[in-house]
Structure formats: structure tokens, C-alpha cells
């Protein structure tokens, strides 16, 4: 079974990869079909993941662990959303109300908290690592923020030059360098999986 799973994974990976590079209609069709299957499986995996989430929180409730009230809230909300979504449909006004009144404000709160956390992290960086790169990092962040900020009198003098020099040249070049490194890492990681050297499936 494990060999079959590995064989199917390796064959599928090779066919999809070849489909990218070799413009044969048959290969393109196979690639499209396999990608469609992958998307369907990913959707099924979401359902399995939600069941797992439910199981973890049910276990917390049963064993009366810390935060049981939150786990009960999660289970009730999950069932309520699922039942309402199935019965009323996702475009129903009640569903939209829940989305706009609970989920979006909840996420917006975390987003606001993130802004505070980032400012705090920047301030703590001076305590964490006092070196030249830290000063460059914080200095550039402050300069870019000032150059992008909308003041009552408009932008600060030289803002366009600062943005062009720091953001469009140095930052873009640096981030492209980082992305090339990430792409090379992704390539070798993908090849390890493709050759079956790394097998994060089938209990191997």
C-alpha cells in the first residue's frame, strides 16, 4: 500500500511537472485533470481538518481542560454556522449578518492588535540585538513610513527620491535576492518529494 501511494505520488508529480515544460496536448490534459483532483482532495481535507478541530475541542470539554468555555463556544458556533449555511444558504442575510457582525470585527481586532505588536517588536529590537543591521532596519522603516505618510501639507520634501531609492531599488533588489533563495530551496524540496526521498504521506 505504501509503495502504491509513493508510486502514485511520484508519477502524478512527474506528469504535472512535465505538463509545465512540455507543450503536448495530452500532457496538458493530464496535468489539468490531476490538478483538479488535487483541488477536490484539498476541499475534502478541509472537512477532515474541521472534524479534527471538533474532536480536539470535544476532548477538551470532556476532560475539562483549561479553556473549556471557549471550546464549547467553538463547537456551538461551528454547528450553528454549518446548519444555518446548509439550510439558509451562504448568501442569506442572516449569514451575512453573522459574517459582518462577528467574524469581520473579530479579525479586524486581531489586525489592530498586530499593528501594536509590530510597533512593540520594533521597539524591543533595540534591546534584543544592538548592531549595525538593527539600526539600518529601523532607520529605513522610519524613513519609508515618513515618506509614505500623508501630512496636512502633503508629502515631505524628497519623499519621491527616498521611495525610489530605498523602496524601488534597494528593497526590491533585496527582496528579489531573498525570493531567488526561497525559489531554489523550494525547487530542491520539491525534487526530494518528487523522487520519494521525503515522503510526508503513507506513514513513511
Amino acid at each position: 500500500m505504501r509503495i502504491l501511494a509513493a508510486g502514485f505520488a511520484i508519477a502524478s508529480g512527474l506528469l504535472v511537472l512535465l505538463g509545465y515544460f512540455v507543450p503536448l496536448t495530452m500532457l496538458l490534459d493530464i496535468r489539468l485533470l490531476l490538478v483538479q483532483w488535487a483541488i477536490i482532495l484539498a476541499a475534502v481535507a478541509v472537512l477532515v481538518g474541521v472534524l479534527n478541530l471538533l474532536g480536539v475541542h470535544w476532548h477538551k470539554v470532556r476532560t475539562r481542560q483549561k479553556g473549556t468555555a471557549y471550546s464549547i463556544l467553538l463547537i456551538v458556533s461551528l454547528f450553528a454556522s454549518a446548519v444555518l449555511g446548509i439550510v439558509l444558504g451562504t448568501n442569506n442575510t442572516l449569514m451575512s449578518f453573522f459574517l459582518e457582525a462577528i467574524i469581520i470585527p473579530g479579525e479586524a481586532t486581531l489586525m489592530a492588535l498586530l499593528a501594536v505588536t509590530l510597533v512593540y517588536a520594533a521597539a524591543r529590537l533595540l534591546r534584543r540585538r544592538v548592531d549595525l543591521m538593527t539600526f539600518i532596519f529601523l532607520g529605513v522603516a522610519v524613513v519609508i513610513l515618513l515618506a509614505a505618510a500623508p501630512f496636512p501639507f502633503g508629502k515631505i520634501p524628497g519623499a519621491a527620491l527616498i521611495e525610489w531609492l530605498l523602496r524601488d531599488n534597494f528593497a526590491t533588489a533585496g527582496s528579489r535576492g531573498i525570493l531567488i533563495g526561497v525559489a531554489l530551496g523550494a525547487l530542491t524540496t520539491g525534487l526530494r518529494v518528487l523522487f520519494g526521498i521525503d515522503r510526508p504521506y503513507g506513514g513513511n
Binding site: L17, Y20, F21, V22, P23, A38, A42, A43, V44, A45, V46, L47, V48, G49, V50, N52, L53, G55, V56, H59, Q65, K66, G67, Y70, E107, L110, M111, L113, L114, T117, L118, Y120, A121, A122, R124, L125, R129, G177, I178, L179, I180, G181, V182, L184, G185, A186, L187, T188, T189, G190, L191, R192, V193, F195, I197, D198, P200, G202, G203, N204
Partner: protein
């Protein structure tokens, strides 16, 4: 023009594949030596402390689905998880894994099980230790923070696809005085991590985890292939710039 790009892509993949297989299976008298990455040194120490203290490791795989371009960091995280599980299988508390997509949650459980099996401790495997905590960036973070706080975690490894919301995770680790190593593929997340963890992992260091925690010859070969290809790209960029400067292209 399109054909040139496709052929170039295919050639790069074939060269990388050849080098990877060659460097993996060629037996060398001395293993390659890599520069020290402080984050991985700390992770190795944290593994030892976790086993001795009977505390848990928390591995966060992010929210990069395997059918998206962000799947590779998650695969690197899974490869690391496999070896961490094996190394900590003798601990009283198994590692917990949180992920933000269904496919990663399933694979993390499979990987945990494989790690226990390899360590001949399959009885200790608990499926609840690999879990989905949320499907959107902030719900994922909101679900992962209680796990970090309440489940006797002594060290955290955030390895995968994250956005700037990863700062909330590293902040939570910091507030509870738990060690954290973090790596992400997104440049915005890397900038955030630079400010919020002690030893940030930048760029391709994300994919070096396996080589640094002794996951095997293929992981060391991967790093060597990356180094070789990086030099080729540097030479091509310099050559291209020089040719452009003298007006040939």
C-alpha cells in the same frame, strides 16, 4: 520566447535533479560542512531540554496549502517534523503540530505517526497532537496561541507560509518566555520575524532545517545544490549586467 523560458526551466530542473541525486548517493569521505545558523543550534538544544524536562515542542506549519505555490515551505516543515518526532519520541509529552489548511493537518498527523513508528513507539502516537487551528490567517493564529500557552510547550518552531500575522505568534511565545525559531517564505513575514525573534531565519535558511538537524544525506545534498545554483545565477546576473553595460544585449 515562451519556448526559451520553458526549455530553460526544464534544463534548470534537470540539472538540479541530477545534482541532487548525485550528491545524495555519492559516498564522501567527509560530510560537507555548513556555516553555523544560531537558530538551528538553539533548536537542537531545545529538543534535548524538551526530552529531559518532559515538555512539548510546538511546530507550526503555517497555512500554505500543498496545491498552492506556498506548499514547499510546508513540505520543509513536514520534513523537519518527521525527524523532531523521532528525536522526541522518548519524551513524556509528544510534540504538537498546528496548521492552517486541511491537507497540512492530515499530513502532519501522518508524519507524526511515521516518526513514532520509526522510533518503535507507535503506541505513544496521539492523533489529537496534529491539528487544524483555523482556516484564515487570524483564526489560525487565534487557535494556535492557546495551544502554545496551555499545553506545556517549552519551544516553538514556526516553519511554513505565514504573513505578517506571525508576529502575534512570536509575541505570544515571547510573553510566555518560550523559545521560538521562525522562518517564512514571504518577504513581509521575514521582515516581521527579523524584528520579533532572536535569531531570524532569512530566505533559503527556511529550507536548511533538515540538514541542520541531521535528517540525512539528501537534505545536505539539497543545500549543496542550492549553493551551486546560486553561484550559477550570480555569474549569469553579473555576466548579463556586463553585457548590458557594453551594449551587446
Amino acid at each position: 520566447m515562451n519556448n526559451i523560458l520553458e526549455i530553460t526551466g526544464l534544463v534548470v530542473v534537470l540539472i538540479a535533479a541530477g545534482l541532487l541525486l548525485g550528491l545524495t548517493f555519492i559516498r564522501r569521505k567527509t560530510p560537507p560542512v555548513f556555516r553555523e545558523i544560531p537558530a538551528y543550534t538553539r533548536l537542537k538544544r531545545a529538543i534535548g531540554i524538551s526530552v529531559e524536562d518532559g515538555t512539548r515542542l510546538h511546530i507550526s506549519l503555517g497555512r500554505g496549502g500543498l496545491q498552492t505555490p506556498h506548499g514547499a515551505p510546508a513540505l520543509a516543515g513536514l520534513a523537519m517534523l518527521r525527524h523532531l518526532t523521532e528525536q522526541t519520541s522518548v519524551s513524556d509529552e509528544p510534540p504538537i503540530v498546528t496548521s492552517g489548511t486541511g491537507d497540512l493537518a492530515i499530513l502532519s498527523r501522518d508524519t507524526l505517526q511515521a516518526g513514532y513508528k520509526a522510533a518503535s513507539a507507535e503506541d505513544l502516537y496521539n492523533p489529537a497532537t496534529g491539528r487544524l487551528t483555523g482556516l484564515t490567517p487570524y483564526s489560525y493564529v487565534a487557535g494556535a496561541i492557546p495551544a502554545m500557552r496551555d499545553e506545556d510547550v517549552s519551544a516553538n518552531a514556526f516553519i511554513g507560509h505565514f504573513g505578517s500575522e506571525v508576529a502575534l505568534l512570536t509575541d505570544a511565545a515571547d510573553r510566555t518566555n518560550r523559545m521560538a525559531i521562525a522562518a517564512a517564505d514571504d518577504p513581509a513575514a521575514q521582515a516581521v520575524l527579523y524584528a520579533s525573534v532572536d535569531d531570524p531565519l532569512i530566505g533559503e535558511e527556511l529550507f536548511a532545517a533538515g540538514a541542520y538537524i541531521d535528517a540525512g544525506a539528501s537534505h545536505r545534498a539539497s543545500l549543496q545544490v542550492q549553493d551551486i545554483l546560486r553561484w550559477v545565477i550570480i555569474l549569469i546576473l553579473l555576466g548579463g549586467s556586463a553585457l548590458k553595460l557594453v551594449g551587446i544585449i
